[in-house]
């Protein structure tokens, strides 16, 4: 600091500059308080600004990830309830088969049971063709259209793709959105690959064609094997739902830590800012009063 005479132009320009600097600082603080942002432009703090940009982008993507997780979760819930319906139907079919396995049963009654089993096939196929929130088949993999197609003879065949689509949940995590038809329907019965629809259809056809209780008895083991496959699939959906819940919980934690980091990096601490503003205002007021006092001490006021 260079001392200048009170009566010189330098004294006035220096005082004015100092007061302008103070006033500018208070204005900057006031703007920070109003906007809640410490940075008005990147060059105020380049590294923090870059971090804020990245955090903002991550936040935007995380919002979509969270929406995607919710969607996957609801799709998997739909799949779980469809699987439960299928399991119920399949259990009912097993009850019918057990009934048909009773030798004293009249052939007409077996035929009626056969007819009921066949009608159950079409209702099971309808359940397996359940769609998700956007109208796509839950069990069809990545294909569009229904997962199973019934031909004229009532035979169900899988029309989807063998792979399932996975959905990214952010941070490198992903989840298979559903399960494919073959995953829950196919099983091996007596060394032959079959599925729950074919198994019920064959038994229904046989009973309708006048087969005896021995056929129904032979089919009972297949029902247990099919049920096992269905239960496995239900466990799978349950596990995936639990996984999504874990991911969602972590999403909440990371989004909180992102928000707190953003607040620390680019936010204004109101208490600190107000105290600082107060301090600056006191200094500004003091320098204004000081300037006015010192400026009055001119010899011209005294010489008469």
């Amino acid at each position: 600091m260079i001392s200048t005479g009170i009566g010189t132009a330098a004294f006035y320009t220096r005082s004015l500059r100092e007061m302008t600097d103070l006033r500018r600082s208070t204005e900057a603080l006031q703007t920070q308080l109003v906007t809640g942002e410490r940075l008005a432009r990147s060059s105020d703090d380049p590294v923090a600004a870059s971090r804020l940009r990245t955090l903002d982008r991550a936040d935007r993507l995380a919002q979509i990830d969270a929406a995607n997780a919710r969607r996957a979760s609801s799709d998997l819930s739909l799949a779980a309830s469809a699987l439960q319906n299928l399991a119920d139907d399949f259990t009912r079919a097993r009850e019918l088969a057990t009934w048909a396995a009773n030798d004293p049963l009249a052939p007409e009654q077996r035929e009626i049971i056969g007819r009921e089993l066949l009608s159950m096939v079409s209702s099971m196929v309808a359940t397996a063709n359940a769609t998700d929130s956007s109208g796509n088949a839950l069990f069809g993999g990545t294909a569009t259209g229904p997962a199973y197609i019934l031909d004229g003879a009532g035979n169900a065949s899988y029309a989807g793709t063998p792979q399932n689509e996975t959905l990214a949940l952010g941070d490198g995590q992903s989840v298979a959105r559903g399960i494919t038809g073959p995953q829950f329907a196919e099983f091996e019965h007596a060394g032959v690959a079959t599925d729950i629809f074919v198994h019920v259809k064959i038994l229904g056809d046989a009973l309708q064609g006048g087969a005896g209780g021995d056929i129904a008895r032979a089919a009972l083991a297949g029902f247990d094997e099919g049920m096992e496959s269905l239960t496995r699939a239900q466990t799978l959906t349950g596990t995936r739902l639990a996984w999504i819940e874990t991911v969602e919980a972590r999403q909440v934690i990371t989004s909180e830590s992102r928000a707190s980091e953003a607040a620390e990096t680019g936010g204004v601490d109101p208490a600190a800012a107000v105290v600082r503003l107060k301090a600056l205002l006191v200094v500004l007021e003091a320098s204004q009063i000081g300037f006015a006092r010192v400026g009055e001490t001119s010899l011209f006021n005294i010489i008469r």
Binding site: A9, R41, A72, T144
Partner: protein, 450 residues
């Protein structure tokens, strides 16, 4: 003898009155920035010869010898040097801030994040027409956000160039004025009010010139200035009454170069140097912005070509163009987005290709950096530049203010001193009047002898 005493008193009163006038002049110019405080230097008058007088005891009073101007060549040069560095820094930061605002306010980076978010959303339901439309619209916004940035940068460049060319012509006018002042200085008498006023004018011109381009000045015994650009080995702009004009050329890439007498000259400080540096930096920034746009075009079009649209054909280009200036949306319909990988057939809900596009866009490792990472790098680079230069500018401002204060303290008018002088010279005037009164009394005493 009494006659002599009256003359001495008269000369004293006259000298005191002149000093009072000089004090009044100083006070009147107290707020004149280019005015340098003056004082009157007095000299004794001694009478020589007289028939019946002894010359060794004859006194003649006092006279105004010359006008003294409180000058300091060193402080003047220091003020010029520091002010030139400060104006350079101001001009450079001004240009770079304008570019930063252009890029930030165009919102390219947020538009990229929104585009990526729309792609992430599409992954949840890849065949949904509404989500596909959302992606196309975000892509359109993104492509369009480059336009304002480019236009703003063009505007800034235009402004800097116009401003620099005006400064060059102002500089040449000042140099011409300086040459005329030199001429006037060689015709004026030393120690006169006229010379002091010409010195003021000379110093004001030199300080205006140095704010445009850094100069070094040499003074000859008459006070005439020889002005060179840059350092003491730089080309001569003004010597005596001769001037050499400074000229400026604009290269096709928008950068500036300066010429004196046909030779290339580098200007190290002053506003012209700042504008030159800002324009040179803009070339690099524009190419980085182009890189980000080109990366966006390449990454998206590459992914489109590798994947299949719902119709089962490879996707057409998403963006057209090669840089920030001409990037535009090429896709016309959301159904043309290739989300499924090759070989998946038509109407596939597979998102393998979409995920490949998303990871390519988000890539942060060079050389395959995605556009978002390039944009962030560009902004970080630019804002770090500005932040660093702002710190330098604060240091330069302190130096310039200090030098200016030191000069003003040395050469400016101090009102307290002038107030004291007023009293002093008034008393001197009254005392001289008293001397004349005494002479008259002596004369009367002699006449009354009987």
């Amino acid at each position: 003898m009494p006659t002599n005493l009256i003359l001495v008193g008269k000369s004293g009163a006259s000298a005191a009155r002149s000093s009072l006038e000089m004090t009044a002049q100083n006070i009147a110019n107290a707020d004149n920035q280019s005015y340098v405080r003056r004082t009157t230097a007095l000299a004794e008058v001694v009478s020589t010869g007289g028939i019946n007088l002894n010359s060794s005891t004859a006194l003649g009073g006092v006279r105004i010898d010359r006008i003294v101007r409180a000058d300091s060549h060193y402080l003047q040069a220091e003020v010029r040097r520091t002010a030139a560095a400060l104006t350079r820094s101001d001009a450079e930061i001004g240009g770079l801030l304008a570019v930063q605002d252009a890029i930030e306010q165009a919102g390219i980076y947020p538009a990229m994040a929104r585009f990526e978010a729309s792609l992430a959303q599409l992954a949840s339901d890849p065949l949904s027409p509404s989500l596909r439309t959302a992606v196309v619209e975000q892509a359109r916004t993104l492509a369009q956000s480059f336009g304002p940035a480019v236009q703003s940068m063009d505007g800034t460049r235009q402004y800097l160039q116009t401003s620099a060319s005006e400064r060059v012509s102002t500089f040449n006018n000042l140099a011409g004025e300086m040459a005329r002042t030199n001429l006037a200085l060689s015709r004026t008498t030393t120690g006169t009010t006229m010379q002091a006023a010409l010195f003021d004018q000379r110093d004001a011109l030199l300080s205006q010139m140095s704010e445009i381009a850094g100069i070094v000045v040499a003074h000859d015994p008459l006070g005439r200035a020889t002005v060179r650009i840059g350092d003491s080995a730089g080309p001569v702009i003004v010597t005596g009454r001769e001037t050499e004009p400074l000229s400026m050329a604009i290269a096709p890439d928008g950068t500036l170069s300066f010429l004196v007498a046909g030779g290339a000259t580098s200007i190290q400080s002053g506003a012209l140097a700042g504008e030159e540096r800002a324009l040179a930096r803009m070339v690099d920034l524009r190419s980085k912005l182009d890189d980000a746009a080109a990366s966006l075009v390449f990454v998206t079009n590459d992914a489109q070509a590798n994947g299949l649209t719902p119709a089962g054909i490879p996707g057409p280009a998403l963006f057209s163009g090669t840089g920030a200036r001409d990037i535009a949306l090429a896709l016309t319909d959301g159904a043309q987005l290739a989300t499924a990988p090759a070989g998946s057939g038509s109407n596939s809900r597979s998102i393998v290709n979409l995920e490949a596009l998303r990871s390519a866009l988000a890539s942060t490792t060079p050389p395959g950096s995605g556009p978002a990472s390039l944009m962030d790098g560009l902004l970080l680079d630019l804002s770090s530049n500005i932040a660093g230069r702002t710190i330098t500018r604060e240091a330069l401002r302190t130096l310039a203010d200090g030098a200016q204060s030191a000069l003003t303290a040395q050469t400016g008018v101090d009102l307290d001193t002038e107030a004291a002088n007023l009293v002093r010279f008034e008393q001197a005037f009254q005392a001289s009047g008293r001397v004349i009164q005494v002479a008259v009394d002596i004369f009367d005493t002699l006449l009354e002898i009987r």
